[in-house]
Structures are given as C-alpha cells and as structure tokens.
Amino acid sequence: MTADIHALTGAYALDAIPEIERAAFERHLADCDACAQEVRELQATAARVGDAVSEVPPPELKARVLARVAQVRQLPPLEHHATGQARRPRSAWALRLTGIAAAALLVVSVSLGVLLVRSQEELDTQKSQSVAMVELLSADDARFVSGSTTSGLNGTVVVSRAQGKVMLLAANLPPAPVGKTYQAWLMQDDGSPRSVGLLTPDNTGRASIVDSSGIGSANQVGVSIEAAGGSDTPHGDVVMKMALPV
C-alpha cells in the first residue's frame, strides 16, 4: 500500500472517483483492511454531512413510492450465512457410494492442487497489475488518450512519465486468430519497439495491460498480431497504433 493509493480513500468515500479508477480502487480495497476500515468511517462521516442538508420532499412523492413498492420484486439475501442447514438422512445406497466417492475425490483433489498453484500465480499477477493500475491512475501527471479504429476497435492509453508506467485498455477486440496472439509495443522514432506484453481479450472483447518498466523516449503504443507466445520485434499485422499523450 503506497501513500498515494491510501490518499484515495477520501475521494472514494465522497464518490469523487472517476468510474475507471473506482473499479481499480475497489480491487485494492478488497486486499487492504486498513483502507476498507478507513473508507467505512469516512463514508459514515460523509453520510452525516449529507444528512445536514435534509429537506422534506413534496408529500405526493410518498404515495407514488408506496404504490410502486407493490410492483417491485425484492432481492433475496446473499447466501454467505447459509451454514446450519439440516442434513438429509443418508440412505444405505448413499453410504456405499461414499467409499467410491472418496477415492474419486482424492484423484480430483490432486489434480486440483496443481490447478490451484497456477491460479494463485495468476491471482498474484492480477493483484500486482491492479496495484500498478491504481498507482498510475492516481499519478499527478497521468494523461489519457482514447481512440477507435475503423473496424470498431477501441483503445485507451494512460501514461505517467514520472512513474514510468503505461496502461493500455482495449475493447471490441476479437479473439486472436488460432495460433496467434496480440502483443503490445512501445514505439519510438529512433530505436526498435519494446514489447509491453501480450494482450488476451476476455469473452466480452476487453483486454488490458499495465507496464511499469519505463517510458523512455517512446511516443507511440501499438498492437500487432504475433505468433502465439509473442515475438521479440513486431512482425505481424498492426491492428492499432496510438500516439502517447505528452
């Protein structure tokens, strides 16, 4: 937790965070108990400030709201307290199955163990990416630029030269062709492009990448299609190119 991120608790409690930063900060909150506690206190404070400008609404509003209530379905509670459920009595048949099930479970849990190790790594990567994202978005010199291609691909670039960070967000990015991947590059007038990393769109066509290894004299960001695994220098088709904001 850097001081810079922590400073956003106030802005967050006041709803004074732009949408794009809100999501990143909320991911950070999930991991930072001290921040979450402070946010709760500051939200309670803000609520008091809000209460101070209380004003009785026109009386007809009450009738309208009460009438609507009769037509609105209520959401069920979230089920995180659902523990003490009554156990169903087990039949003899179910008992016989238990032994087989236990053996099967052993097999499953061994392979699951492997999976879990991998997803913990993925989680760590995601976590460090979202920390970098929050740092970048809250940098004093953060600059944004957005654009779209004729094919409907949208890109947003956020850059902080002081922090040496760049983030690329893409939307409407179709899945890469089989055996290929998208790769993002920082490009400059003199010298060869430097890889920022691979971009993998999710099933809604969105992809994002953050890089913290410096901007140097780069003045453009580009995305090309490369062989799966990526390349050292861009060979394939360039699908997007954007000038870095100054």
Binding site: G10, A16, A52, S54, R68, V69, P77
Partner: protein, 199 residues
C-alpha cells in the same frame, strides 16, 4: 437524555417513545413488510431528498432520483449488512451514488460550456451554510465544516455537494491533483473526529 439512551437500546419497541431504528426497519422491510417500509420512508426521505436535491438541483429530477433510491432500498433491503456500517450510512451512500450517476451521465454533453460558469460559482459554502437546518445535529456538521481549512472545506463540498470528481475539483480550484486527493482525505478525517463518528 433518558430518551436517547432508550433509543439506542430499544429496537422495535412499539407504542410510546421513539420509532424503531432504521436497522430494525430494514430487517422488517427485507421480509416484505410494507408497513415497515412506510416508516422507513418517513425516516429517510428527507435526508435522501435533501442530498439528492443539493447535487441534482432540478426539483423534478431530484424527485425521480429520490424515488429510485427508495425503491432500491425496498429491493435490496435483504443485502444490507450491519457489520459494514449503519443503515443511515448505507442509505446516504446509495443516495449520493445515484445522484452523482444522474449528474455525470447528463453532464458530458454540456461540459465545455459549463466550465467557465462553474469557475464563477465555485463557492458553495455560503449557500450550504444558509440552508443547513438549525437542528442541533446539523449545527454540529456546520461547525465542524467551518473548522476545516478553506481548501479542505471547498474540496469536500465541491466533491460531495456538487458531485464533482477529484479531478474536476482540482481543475476548478486550480490546485494539483495530489493536493486535492490529500485535502479530501484529511478534511474528512478532521470531520470524522469533530463529529465523533465511531471508529
């Protein structure tokens, strides 16, 4: 004082004395109790409408947003979790969010023309102070607000009562982003301590 104590201790006591706490009402509302919802309406509609109106300003739109907020309370009452804060905080956080959503979505179109105008009218404190009710509670908020530095107070009020983002506040006050972020946080912390908000 005795009444206050009773109010804190008593949840759902019927008959004389005070109406049930918002927390208790929300629980009943979650079970579909329309009578409890009516009581909840009586407790929260003025704070909600006042805050929404402060941000949205247009009376008809403010009523719409207030209605949305109240229906949202009805819809999601079962999702309220007291461990994360009081019912009133939950209600006001939701109200603020909805009001801000409303102004930000209708804002982008008129942004540019707006900027010059906002520069001239960047002192909401006087209007706020004027309208703050004389009730003790409200007095205390005002007293606490006025104990902030000018920059803290202006930043908090522009963000909270006008629904601006911290980036817009920085722009409006011609102050670096980092400074505004810090002022919003330390301003709120000072308010928290002044108002005695439970830690």
């Amino acid at each position: 004082m005795a009444e206050r104590v009773r109010r804190i201790a008593g949840g759902g006591a019927s008959g004389e004395a005070r109406p049930p706490e918002a927390e208790t009402l929300l629980q009943q509302v979650a079970r579909g109790d329309e009578g409890a919802f009516e009581q909840l309406y009586d407790q929260v509609s003025a704070p909600v409408f006042g805050l929404v109106r402060r941000i949205v300003r247009d009376p008809a739109q403010s009523e719409e947003v207030t209605q949305e907020v109240l229906l949202e309370l009805w819809r999601t009452a079962a999702r309220f979790s007291p461990e994360r804060g009081s019912a009133m905080t939950w209600v006001m956080t939701l109200a603020h969010r909805r009001a801000v959503d409303r102004v930000r979505s209708s804002q982008s179109a008129t942004d540019r023309e707006d900027r010059a105008y906002r520069r001239e009218t960047s002192r909401p404190f006087d209007e706020v102070a004027e309208q703050v009710s004389t009730r003790l509670e409200h007095e205390q908020v005002r007293r606490c607000l006025s104990s902030l530095t000018d920059l803290q107070r202006e930043s908090v009020e522009l963000a909270y009562y006008r629904g601006l983002t911290y980036r817009e506040v920085a722009e409006l006050l011609d102050t670096p982003l980092g400074t505004i972020k810090t002022r919003l946080r330390d301003g709120l912390i000072r308010l928290r301590d002044c108002l005695g908000v439970a830690r």
